[in-house]
């Protein structure tokens, strides 16, 4: 596989950090090399939030994402800030409420899906947006096995929300397939 450099962005509280932790855990379970890190500080509480995960078959030396192969944005502000720094063949996954500049659409594969709306209307829990995103990103990039991903999700959610979160994961993948 090509080294995957993933940048998840959004607003503090949307769970983008947790999503990268779950993804890294699934990758580790699949015996892949992985590192995960996040930006801390005031910006992690309501403002811009950024988390990163690198997945590779080879040992990972430098721990930060330089230019991502995938950008996930759940808010307009986070897309605007991070859309400038991308690899040429990078994939962008965004919530469908977000406006992606035409020149970006022309040069990159953009997957625009109703992540937040689906969390509220289908899953009936806005907190599930990050897990829907995770399902979507893994469907788009084929990073980790479904089995490891589900196991990692279950490791990180409150008791009683197992079905809801697994449904959210599947919904994310479905939205990408239908796109």
């Amino acid at each position: 596989m090509k080294k995957a450099e993933l940048r998840f962005t959004g607003s503090g509280g949307q769970g983008v950090i947790l999503a990268t932790i779950i993804l890294a855990e699934a990758a580790y379970e699949d015996k892949l090399q992985t590192v995960q890190s996040q930006s801390y500080g005031p910006e992690a509480r309501g403002g811009l939030c950024k988390a990163e995960c690198i997945i590779d078959e080879k040992p990972i030396t430098y721990t930060k994402v330089g230019l991502p192969t995938l950008l996930l944005s759940l808010t307009q502000a986070s897309l605007d800030k991070y859309v400038k720094d991308l690899q040429d063949d990078a994939v962008i996954v965004v919530d469908s409420e977000i406006t992606v500049p035409e020149e970006v659409k022309a040069s990159h594969k953009v997957i625009s899906i109703p992540i937040i709306q689906s969390a509220v209307e289908v899953i009936k829990n806005p907190m599930a947006a990050n897990i829907i995103s995770l399902g979507a990103v893994n469907e788009a990039m084929k990073l980790v096995s479904q089995e490891s991903l589900e196991e990692a999700v279950l490791n990180h959610i409150p008791k009683g929300t197992e079905e809801l979160n697994i449904n959210a994961l599947h919904l994310g993948a479905q939205l990408v397939k239908e796109q």
Binding site: I21, Y28, G41, T61, K64, G66
Partner: protein, 375 residues
């Protein structure tokens, strides 16, 4: 039974390594970016029959940890720069009273409260000179999550073996990084434990050919005196100049005479390289990235990384300075280990520096550009 292979944060791996080494007591005051060490200790210590206590401040944190250690428990406290400053007086106390203790400093940008969430290596000199007076220091710096686990064990072992505080000099880069980590069980590790030595009226007596007095747990058997004043072998203070000189000399000797055991470094590809990058801790990851890029461009660049950062590996760096034409020191500070490298390298090779002091991190490109500048 916990999974042997886990995705962990550096801070979490620090706690797991400490537990494998036998940590039974943690006292401290949480501070970013070290807070996860307190959090995980609070969860994990009660599970293994240990105690966690959050004290009213950083000074009380180290003081409680020292007390627990004297009473026989392997103890740790963790903090970041501002708290590390507060702990300095008691680090000196641990040095002279010869109390084993692991003090973790997950460095952030300073001085003062600085940039609380940003990485730095600005406490390198403080780890050595933060507490006053001539005193021995062992400081160790990890460059990955796995190494954080392994070296936490080593910190405890060295603290016990040499009856001295050991500084685990981490940084935000590794402390907050998640990576895979093998939680090697204690049975598969070399663990140094205290013997069941009893006080004989001379708690600080050293047997012939040794530098370290055997540890007698306070509260078991006869009571003895523990003091920050220079003391005779009976543990009581003295103004006798000869006793003071001998006591100070022995404190220094117990480290200086055991450098082969204490020093540790990683050296890669320096034999046939014109330039070596010298770095430690989290900076190593960017340096290794730079070396990968250099190789892709056909440049041979070596790496020298002190793992034991204090005492400084004088001899090994002197040899390095004779092997290569240029050393580039990379640190997340204004140039601290740089001074040590210059002291040792003298005129054997050029010594240049690349650092960061704005809270951002050095990238492989930053370091590679510096390497190309000096070549």
């Amino acid at each position: 039974m916990a999974k042997r292979f886990q995705l962990l944060q550096g801070n979490e791996a620090c706690v797991e390594g400490a537990l494998a080494a036998g940590m039974k007591f943690y006292a401290g005051y949480p501070i970013t970016p070290s807070t996860e060490i307190a959090e995980r200790s609070a969860i994990r210590l009660p599970q293994v029959g240990g105690k966690f206590i959050q004290m009213e401040d950083e000074i009380a944190g180290i003081a409680a940890a020292l007390g627990a250690s004297v009473a026989g428990l392997k103890s740790m406290t963790a903090t970041s720069g501002p708290g590390f400053s507060l702990k300095q007086e008691n680090i000196g106390y641990a040095c002279i009273a010869e109390i084993p203790l692991v003090v973790v400093d997950v460095q952030r940008s300073g001085p003062s409260t600085g940039l609380p969430t940003s990485p730095s290596q600005g406490d390198y000199m403080q780890a050595k000179w933060g507490t006053h007076g001539d005193h021995p220091v062992i400081a160790i710096s990890p460059a990955s999550v796995q190494e954080t686990y392994n070296l936490a064990v080593r910190c405890f072992n060295l603290a016990e073996k040499y009856r001295t505080p050991v500084i685990f000099l981490m940084d935000e880069i590794i402390g907050h990084l998640r990576e895979g980590c093998e939680l090697i069980p204690a049975e598969e590790l070399e663990i140094v434990n205290r013997g069941d030595h009893n006080v004989t009226g001379m708690p600080y007596a050293v047997s012939e050919g040794n530098y370290v007095p055997e540890f007698a747990c306070f509260g078991e058997g006869e009571h003895y005196n523990v003091t920050g004043l220079f003391h005779d072998v009976d543990g009581f203070p003295t103004n006798n100049n000869e006793i003071a000189r001998n006591a100070e000399q022995r404190l220094m000797d117990k480290i200086d005479m055991n450098l082969d055991d204490i020093l540790d470094w990683e050296e890669v590809g320096t034999e046939d390289a014109d330039v070596a990058i010298l770095c430690y801790g989290g900076t190593t990851r960017a340096a290794k990235g730079a070396i990968e890029q250099a190789e892709a461009e056909g440049l041979k660049v070596g790496l020298f990384r002190p793992i034991t950062v204090w005492p400084f590996p004088d001899k090994a760096v002197e040899e390095l300075s004779k092997k290569v034409k240029h050393i580039v020191v990379a640190e997340h500070n204004y140039g601290q280990m740089l001074g040590e490298v210059k002291r040792v390298a003298k005129d054997n090779c050029t010594v240049d520096f690349i650092g960061k002091i704005d809270g951002t991190t050095l990238t492989p490109a930053d370091i590679l550009n510096k390497v190309k500048e000096v070549l």
